[in-house]
Symmetry: C2
């Protein structure tokens, strides 16, 4: 969606190191925004984005207009089923349908051999992986680890919305996720509600924060009661009016 | 879906004449059958099918097993929206979702430059065209006109289910559609319910026939009240236990 930051830059750089010809798609996709969301005010610093693409070794930036991708009212959509039921999918109806549909379009237009997606949007990554598997797209999905500021805040284009006190409060999200991870891994806590309560306490201590969800899920993005094996701890919070998401892995 | 007959043969032949390398997919797709439909008894004469493919100039037959295309429970689907609301879509819930999903898979596996579809399944043809347009599949859909027996019955693998008296009754479907077309084109009848009543009368005169639907639709597969310009007259009937469909174009 553009508004490229250092994590996008690292992702493009990695793609350039591993491939002969890298295409970056830059498209703020209306189909994945809800009616009350930030589609109109989402940042679109195209010149700066193109400069980053070039500097990181991209061969081509694909920057379609809305009317290029949605010439007629869209009637065919990719639906992703239960992977989209919880976490962000529960709070952003139609969001992942919009994501999966535009990614299918971009795959068919660009026809990449590999496509790189950041782990910060973990549910999105799992959904795209499943779409590729279930619809037999002839390409490989490469996940790229989340990049964080020194205080732990995951890089996101939406961090630009944060006023100074909000920016100072925002790292509480990563601290909360880490506190859940430690309860699971260091204290061998298998009870998901107990583990979550540690993270919620951390978040609720921060007055600028409103919690949307904090969940512990399996690889199918289904909430677990008893933790066993690999899980993902994922949360969405509002800091002021800005919605932030993050996630970490844990295993027991 | 295999069980190839003379209309499939003509379609393959046309594809061979117009392309360097023709792939025929043969796959009875469980995802497009309802629980009470004929998935299990659908004919699968593979040796005969392969012989026809070869004779008509196909270079490759792609014959996946069910577990090749549906290794894990399918979670991602292509949904086709309002084009699937009426006609067969109304009577076969999930059918066109199953068709669109398997065709998307086949497109991604085979990666054809052109794909040939018969006009007998007209709603399917329109849905596939729309899917290709909306999801930007890099290929061209080529429609192939319906082929009929001398008495007007459209060729269909399901004609093999018909007992002799049913086979004798089945051409009433095409006669009914033609009677609607004539009322529209020759008598300039713009009222769809009046035009339909002519076709329904023809069908209801045949005791072996039960009508599922007879509809006059626009290019978006929406029923019209007032006929103007190009329309499609489509019907589905049961002759005994065998479901048959057919359609004709008309314009006013």
């Amino acid at each position: 969606m553009g508004a490229l930051h250092a994590a996008h830059a690292a992702l493009i750089k990695q793609a350039s190191n591993e491939n002969d010809f890298v295409v970056v798609s830059i498209f703020v996709n209306p189909l994945q925004f809800g009616p009350s969301e930030d589609y109109l005010r989402y940042p679109r610093p195209l010149d700066k984005d193109l400069e980053i693409c070039e500097r990181m070794g991209a061969a081509l930036a694909f920057v379609p207009r809305v009317e290029d991708l949605y010439a007629a009212p869209q009637q065919a959509f990719v639906e992703v089923g239960r992977l989209a039921e919880h976490l962000c999918g529960a709070f952003r109806p139609g969001h992942f349908r919009g994501v999966a549909t535009v990614v299918a379009k971009l795959f068919n237009i660009v026809q990449p051999d590999r496509a790189y997606f950041g782990e910060k949007d973990y549910q999105q990554l799992q959904i795209i992986r499943r779409m590729v598997q279930d619809l037999n797209f002839p390409l490989e999905i490469v996940p790229v680890p989340t990049i964080r500021d020194a205080d732990g805040l995951a890089l996101s284009s939406r961090n630009a919305y944060l006023a100074a006190p909000e920016r100072a409060a925002a790292p509480v999200l990563q601290r909360a996720l880490q506190s859940v991870r430690r309860v699971i891994e260091d204290e061998r806590c298998a009870d998901a509600s107990v583990a979550k309560s540690y993270g919620l306490r951390v978040l609720e201590a921060e007055p600028l924060v409103r919690v949307e969800y904090l969940e512990i899920v399996d690889a199918d993005m289904q909430p677990v009661q008893q933790i066993k094996g690999e899980v993902r701890i994922a949360a969405a919070i509002y800091v002021g009016k800005t919605r932030l998401i993050d996630n970490v892995g844990a295993s027991l």
